[in-house]
């Protein structure tokens, strides 16, 4: 009997995650996403820190950009932008 049982090497990996959530795009959660008016952006980077998703990246030129693959459309960045240069736009 015992010899038919799988050894630990054959057991499934169990609770050890093997994929990164970067493969799981949450961008379809929201109905709107933010757009930045770069003419007025002051490069304060607050939107980068306030985004719960890490979907606002800071580019090497200091401007931020929205990664729509992960943005859940919460609207925090738009609400908090000190120069009000962001707005939510509907997905088409």
């Amino acid at each position: 009997m015992t010899e038919d049982k799988p050894g630990w090497r054959e057991m499934p990996e169990g609770a050890i995650s093997y994929k990164c959530t970067l493969d799981y795009e949450t961008g379809d959660w929201g109905v709107e996403y933010p757009e930045i008016d770069y003419e007025r952006c002051s490069k304060c980077m607050l939107c980068h820190f306030y985004c719960p998703e890490g979907a606002v990246r800071v580019r090497s030129d200091g401007y931020t950009e929205i990664d729509r693959r992960y943005c859940k459309g919460c609207g925090i960045c738009v609400e908090e932008c000190p120069v009000k240069c962001m707005k939510m736009v509907r997905k088409v």
């Binding site: 994929k19 949450t26 959660w29 719960p52 998703e53 925090i76």
Partner: protein, 324 residues
């Protein structure tokens, strides 16, 4: 202390990856991302059961870009203690995967349920034994992950599914447990309150906590749009109002030469110096649906003023302790 500028932090890659399943507008990830940006180098994280834990580890995915362990609800601090003890043993024997790290940032994340209630004894033990780790209390003031049940961290009069508001009972009947005092009574080197609305303050305090020689405690207020009943884009506004009304003041406390030294952090210090800028707590309560019953159908002036008294009293005590 090695300072971390906002720019440096912004360019550091996130150690908590996008694609996690926390609700839109969640305050927990905002602050967890900032804290992880303050990590100095090799880092190991552990979480108690809670929103952050379930939503970052939905099998087979993980959002953690550093080694991360979850074992049970009540033992985040005990798990962190074990990590630290293992690291020290490997250093001593010069053997094992952790032996080459001169510093190791060990961070335990736990919610209010995992801290005020279920994890309190594990936390107390780890603080007393003096393990070198940073404990982060992500306080969203109820068991949100299981559907908004009250905890020791839920404030007075807040409505939760187990402290409903009705004719007889106006939401939670008890006051919020003074967890900071309980933790500081353990005479640990560093404790501080933090809030997602103030990124520079979070980065500075997180770095200090990680650099502290011994246990450090960060109490983060993390507004929860679902449980506190406000629109998700208001998370930062609610956070900021908590500081502006002094219901959640920002301060730090170091233990030096046998006694605690409290210091108000700049956003709260500014209010202490200019008392007329302190906003009435009503402004904080009014924008959250969990306090709706204090305003509708009729204004419960009695309850609002007892909350204001509680806030004022604790604020005065904190000012006294900080010598302002």
């Amino acid at each position: 202390m090695s300072d971390l500028t906002l720019k440096e932090a912004a360019l550091k890659p996130d150690l908590l990856a996008s694609g996690h399943r926390l609700c839109a507008g969640c305050g927990e990830t905002i602050i967890a991302r900032m804290i992880l940006k303050a990590a100095r180098g090799p880092t190991i994280a552990t979480s108690a059961t809670g929103c952050l834990e379930v939503s970052t580890s939905i099998y087979p995915y993980t959002a953690w870009m550093v080694p991360w362990i979850h074992s049970a609800f009540e033992n985040a601090a005990a798990t962190a203690s074990g990590i630290e003890a293992a690291w020290r043993a490997m250093r001593r024997k010069q053997k094992g995967p952790l032996s080459r790290y001169e510093t190791l940032d060990i961070i335990a994340f736990a919610g209010d349920g995992g801290t005020y209630d279920i994890g309190l004894q594990a936390l107390s033990g780890a603080l007393e034994r003096g393990h070198d780790f940073t404990y982060v209390l992500l306080d969203n003031e109820a068991y949100m992950n299981t559907g908004i049940q009250r905890s020791g961290g839920t404030p007075f009069a807040a409505e939760t599914t187990t402290s409903p508001s009705g004719k007889a009972v106006p939401g939670k009947k008890e006051w919020k447990k003074p967890i900071d005092e309980i933790v500081i009574a353990h005479e640990i080197p560093y404790a501080a309150s933090i809030n997602p609305a103030y990124p520079m303050d979070v980065l500075r305090k997180s770095r200090k906590a990680l650099e502290a020689d011994g246990p450090a405690f960060l109490h983060a207020l993390v507004p929860c749009s679902r449980g506190w009943r406000f629109p998700p884009e208001k998370t930062i506004e609610v956070s900021r109002l908590a500081v502006q009304t002094c219901i959640f003041p920002l301060y730090e406390c170091r233990f030096l030469e046998g006694r605690p030294h409290y210091e108000l952090s700049s956003p709260s210090l500014a209010i202490a110096k200019k008392p007329e800028s302190k906003k009435p707590v009503e402004e904080y309560l009014r924008i959250q649906g969990r306090f709706n019953h204090l305003f509708r159908p009729e204004m419960r002036v009695d309850l609002i003023s007892s909350i204001q008294e509680w806030v004022d009293n604790r604020w005065e005590m904190l000012k006294e302790k900080s010598g302002v």
